[in-house]
């Protein structure tokens, strides 16, 4: 699914990762862990095909196969949760009915807040909006950046269930996290070091 060969990442003049190797097979769940600033997010952006600011070779799936949710969720402040979700899905050419959108947001316990502008919502609520799109995903590769942070216990549980179902159905998952995340499917943890 993903093959990174001798990848070197830079931030300014400083090398973040040197000659990094990563191979992710279809149907695998991989956690990238490590301290802040080690380059987890940058690496995930490389995997998403969003960044070409690296040395080495990266063999990546086409962008239509990739679902990327970054630490910036891509929400539009002036739109409501429902409108945001509809737009993010439309970008992937998925057009669910209004009731399905509301259903997906309810699954992440957005409640009445789903009709408020995204700018008025809390960080955790905003994250829930971004994650609600997982339910509609047709992409075989999920790249989730710090997906489990800012969520409460219930939110983490819902997200974990989505991830497990995705992997059980043959999907591939790469996520970053610096805490141990309990999933019922086998997870390969790769610890990045400075």
């Amino acid at each position: 699914m993903i093959h990174l060969k001798h990848i070197t990442l830079h931030r300014g003049d400083k090398a973040l990762l040197a000659h990094f190797e990563l191979q992710v097979a279809p149907g695998e769940a991989v956690q990238l862990s490590g301290p802040n600033g080690v380059g987890k997010s940058s690496l995930l952006r490389v995997c998403a095909g969003l960044s070409d600011d690296y040395e080495g070779e990266a063999i990546l799936p086409p962008k239509s196969d990739v679902l990327y949710i970054g630490h910036r969720y891509g929400l539009t402040d002036t739109l409501s949760a429902v409108e945001n979700l509809r737009y993010l899905l439309a970008l992937k050419d998925i057009h669910p009915a209004e009731s399905e959108l509301v259903g997906a947001l309810s699954e992440f316990k957005l409640g009445q807040a789903m009709f408020d502008r995204a700018s008025t919502l809390s960080e955790g609520q905003r994250k829930r909006i971004a994650l609600s799109r997982l339910r509609f995903s047709r992409e075989p590769l999920w790249l989730l950046d710090e997906a489990f942070s800012a969520l409460d216990q219930g939110g983490m549980q819902t997200l974990a269930e989505f991830c497990e179902r995705h992997v059980e159905a043959g999907g591939t998952l790469v996520f970053t996290s610096h805490q141990m995340t309990a999933l019922t499917v086998p997870v390969r943890t790769i610890a990045l070091q400075v």
Binding site: R45, A48, G49, L50, S51, D52, D53, K63, S64, V66, Y68, G70, H71, R72, Y73, G74, L75, T76, D77, T78, L79, E83, R86, Y87, L88, A90, L91, K92, D93, H95
Partner: protein
């Protein structure tokens, strides 16, 4: 594609306060003009058309920053790049909404501005018509500037410098078309400029957005 268009429309139209500010600023400057130069009819008639044009151009430039910057900051740009919908089409949607929310109001306001500058009535129609053809070109160029400078520290200062030279042809031919009261040659040139920019600019913007997202 319709959902994308709707989103761009909502983004543009739900910040009407900021938009009102832009237009208000423009009208304010136009009101100050006669007071600062001279209220005499002969002088005003001479500078009127030019002043209307320059203020339109500045108003459009100042509104342009908001078409790309917020998307870069919020991470929406990442999703746009990873989208199934071609980026050039999304860029075109942005330019269209910029025109609908800034360009079109300027076109509609132009008779009032002509009145304020005591421009002879026979010019009014042609000024409005010329603005109607010129403002879409300017909107496209504004989105181009915004995409090229998105994410740069000095972006907002750099953008006008970058885009202003490109705005000279529509400025020159637009004002000439109005002054010459619809001389076909200038009209054709404007139409040609509009066709050219509407094909080339979205494509360049799509490249620039990809670079902006990867930084």
């Amino acid at each position: 594609m319709r959902d994308v268009l709707m989103r761009e429309w909502w983004v543009a139209s739900r910040s009407l306060g900021r938009l009102g500010q832009t237009l208000l600023f423009m009208v304010l400057v136009l009101v100050l003009f006669p007071l600062a130069i001279s209220p005499e009819r002969a002088v005003l008639e001479q500078v009127g058309v030019g002043a209307v044009w320059i203020m339109s151009l500045l108003a459009m430039l100042s509104a342009a920053e908001h078409s790309i910057g917020p998307d870069l900051k919020s991470g929406a740009l990442d999703q746009m790049v990873l989208s199934e919908i071609p980026l050039w089409w999304q860029a075109l949607a942005k330019a269209l909404m910029h025109w609908l929310t800034v360009g079109l109001p300027i076109v509609l306001l132009s008779p009032i501005m002509c009145l304020m500058f005591a421009v002879e009535e026979r010019y009014w129609f042609w000024i409005t018509a010329a603005l109607f053809l010129t403002t879409p070109i300017l909107s496209l160029l504004c989105v181009l500037g915004a995409s090229l400078t998105a994410g740069l520290n000095a972006g907002s200062a750099l953008m006008p410098v970058l885009v202003a030279p490109l705005m000279l042809p529509p400025l020159i031919f637009g004002t000439q078309w109005a002054y010459q009261m619809g001389e076909p040659f200038y009209g054709y040139v404007l139409a040609a400029l509009l066709s050219l920019t509407s094909v080339v600019v979205p494509w360049v913007v799509s490249l620039a957005l990809r670079v902006a997202a990867s930084r």
